[in-house]
């Protein structure tokens, strides 16, 4: 099996700090990491390779330092990596990103399966996976929680509202995966050494024969016109439970809210 895994390098957002004055993210001292939800797609890809043989190629679009994310994927067991890097790619929205990745993946055909993380934790759109599938003309399974190969078909279990749906897809196909699908391994020492030695292939807009009209900010149909910090703080009521009386007050207050807001 030849498996392609598109990944993204993102700022470490679990401890993100916002500048209260400008309302923008404080970038200083913020580490860049592999999108945490891409670790699951990498793990699934490497496991399928271990089971069925073949190779796993990891692809990322980003600035030159995004090669750190690709190296980490190599250290986890991916075989090869391609970095799409070009000033023309900067500022891409989900259309432009899907387009750029699709051009790169066209050059990597034939492949059997493309595996994407559910979404990136910075943009949080979950749009690039299905967008990429559409541009490559591939059938898609999103929010996949289990994947099996049967008689050359992909059997994908999707986590949807209220349960799981099972789909059968012909190959080549694209799946996006949720966290439930795997337990990502840590990079091995041997993997790290291989990653260190590997010269990551870099590809420009010209290399992938991309139409400049679809690239970067210029090729993006959407524009951010304003950003602001959401008002999350609520001036709520506080009840400290110290004795039976305050316990009873707390229970009353909860029940009042449930009656008023959720009609129980």
């Amino acid at each position: 099996m030849r498996i392609i895994i598109p990944i993204k390098q993102v700022p470490e957002t679990s401890n993100v700090k916002m500048d209260p004055v400008t309302g923008t993210m404080v970038r200083e001292g913020v580490e860049s990491i592999i999108n945490p939800l891409d670790l699951y797609s990498i793990e699934v890809g490497v496991r399928l390779k271990e089971q069925y043989g073949g190779e796993v190629i990891v692809v990322s679009m980003g600035p030159p330092k995004a090669q750190d994310a690709l190296k980490e994927a190599i250290a986890m067991g991916c075989d090869d990596a391609v970095l799409l890097t070009d000033r023309l790619f900067a500022g891409a929205d989900t259309f432009s990103t899907s387009y750029t990745l699709s051009r790169a993946l066209e050059k990597l055909r034939p492949f059997d399966l493309v595996i994407c993380g559910e979404r990136a934790t910075d943009g949080d759109t979950a749009q690039v996976g299905p967008g990429l599938a559409a541009l490559l003309g591939l059938p898609v399974s999103t929010f996949t929680s289990k994947v099996e190969i049967e008689d050359g078909h992909i059997r994908a279990t999707r986590l949807i509202e209220g349960g799981y749906e099972v789909l059968e897809l012909p190959t080549p196909a694209l799946i996006t995966v949720v966290k439930e699908i795997s337990d990502p391994r840590l990079p091995t020492l041997g993997g790290k050494q291989r990653a260190k030695k590997l010269d990551i292939r870099k590809r420009s807009a010209q290399d992938i024969e991309a139409d400049a009209a679809n690239l970067g900010l210029k090729g993006s149909p959407t524009r951010v016109v304003k950003t602001f910090t959401p008002k999350v703080a609520r001036d709520g009521r506080i009840i400290e439970v110290k004795d039976d009386k305050t316990l009873s007050q707390a229970v009353d207050a909860i029940i009042d809210i449930l009656k008023e807001k959720a009609a129980i």
């Binding site: 923008t24 989900t94 059968e168 966290k179 524009r223």
Partner: protein, 331 residues
């Protein structure tokens, strides 16, 4: 005439309630966009007439209905083909769909093929002075809100479920149901649906629930998670969990709320023993009302709570359960 489209989501053959939330949004936009009407796009196989009428009663001027056995189940590829065909024929100004697993798959698959923009999981929609759609959504784990405009047409958005109330039916409203023929063949359906397994523990599905009762590390041990489930059961709500709890195996992943889990937006969110990491807040801070119980008076979760109970959940929750059970017995 500018058409504002909504995507009517069908689940198991019936129009889903989330469709009516989109009508609330559409009615608001129609009021702000001169010379506009609301049209609903509906695909399926033998969708009941009553469901189509209901969409009109709740605000649509037109329903474009495409009926085909190949559209019986939601599958991205044929649904997208039909949607693209409809868009080419009727040229809507904008299309809004729910940010459900259907909407979040169908819309990006469709938008890129039309070379237009799509904004994910919006919590606010407005019209600017030039008549363009302003789409506001949370980004970076809910730490910032971004307002986005699309230069191409149609403008497309998915809207977070439960971020608007469903539009109410008005029996006097009239509208037109237009049956549209779009030829589909087996080749348009490369993917087969083999089955659906209902997850009984999910109840109505955590993203559709009116009440979510979530437990965090403060629950203490796996066995005590029963308290959370019991309270959720009594309230007709759904169980949620922090990442910690899922990583420890006290609850399964479909229940995880937060950055690497689900984003929920219930009427009431009850956080039990949850400290309120950024990662968790990202998944629940837009809930309409938040109640939290935590021993630590400095817990972050209290900053986003409407009611903060500083105390031991092992005291508060049993007392609450007892009161709810007593009230139930009276009825």
């Amino acid at each position: 005439m500018k058409e504002i489209w909504i995507y009517s989501e069908v689940r198991e053959g019936r129009v889903n309630e989330v469709t009516y939330e989109l009508l609330t949004r559409a009615l608001d936009l129609k009021g702000k966009l001169a010379d506009s009407i609301i049209s609903a796009v509906l695909m399926g196989y033998k969708v009941p007439e009553d469901d189509k009428r209901e969409i009109i009663k709740r605000g649509a001027d037109k329903v474009y209905y495409v009926d085909d056995p190949l559209l019986k189940d939601f599958l991205t590829e044929p649904y997208s083909k039909v949607l693209i065909e409809l868009i080419k024929r009727y040229k809507p100004e904008m299309i809004i769909a729910p940010a459900t697993t259907q909407g979040r798959t169908l819309m990006p698959y469709t938008a890129v093929r039309l070379k237009t923009g799509l904004t994910a999981d919006c919590t606010g929609l407005a019209i600017d002075e030039e008549g363009s759609l302003l789409q506001t959504r949370p980004a970076i784990g809910g730490n910032i809100m971004a307002t986005i405009r699309t230069s191409a047409r149609p403008q497309m958005s998915t809207v977070r479920p439960h971020s608007a109330r469903p539009a109410v039916p008005d029996e006097s409203r009239t509208g037109e149901i237009i049956n549209v023929d779009i030829a589909l063949t087996e080749q348009d359906v490369p993917t087969k649906k083999l089955g659906y397994i209902k997850d009984e523990t999910q109840g109505a599905g955590i993203q559709d629930a009116d009440i979510v009762v979530s437990g965090g590390r403060g629950i203490g041990k796996a066995d005590d998670f029963k308290l959370v489930s019991k309270l959720a059961g009594l309230l007709g709500g759904t169980v949620g969990a922090s990442r910690d709890v899922v990583d420890r195996g006290w609850m399964t992943y479909p229940h995880q709320v937060g950055l690497s889990g689900k984003t929920v937006n219930p009427k009431v969110y009850i956080a039990l023993g949850i400290s309120g990491s950024i990662q968790h807040l990202a998944g629940m801070q837009t809930s309409r009302t938040i109640i939290s119980v935590n021993k630590d008076p400095d817990a972050q979760i209290f900053k986003v709570s409407d009611l903060s109970i500083v105390g031991d959940l092992h005291e508060v929750v049993p007392a609450l359960i007892e009161r709810l059970e007593a009230a139930k017995d009276e009825i």
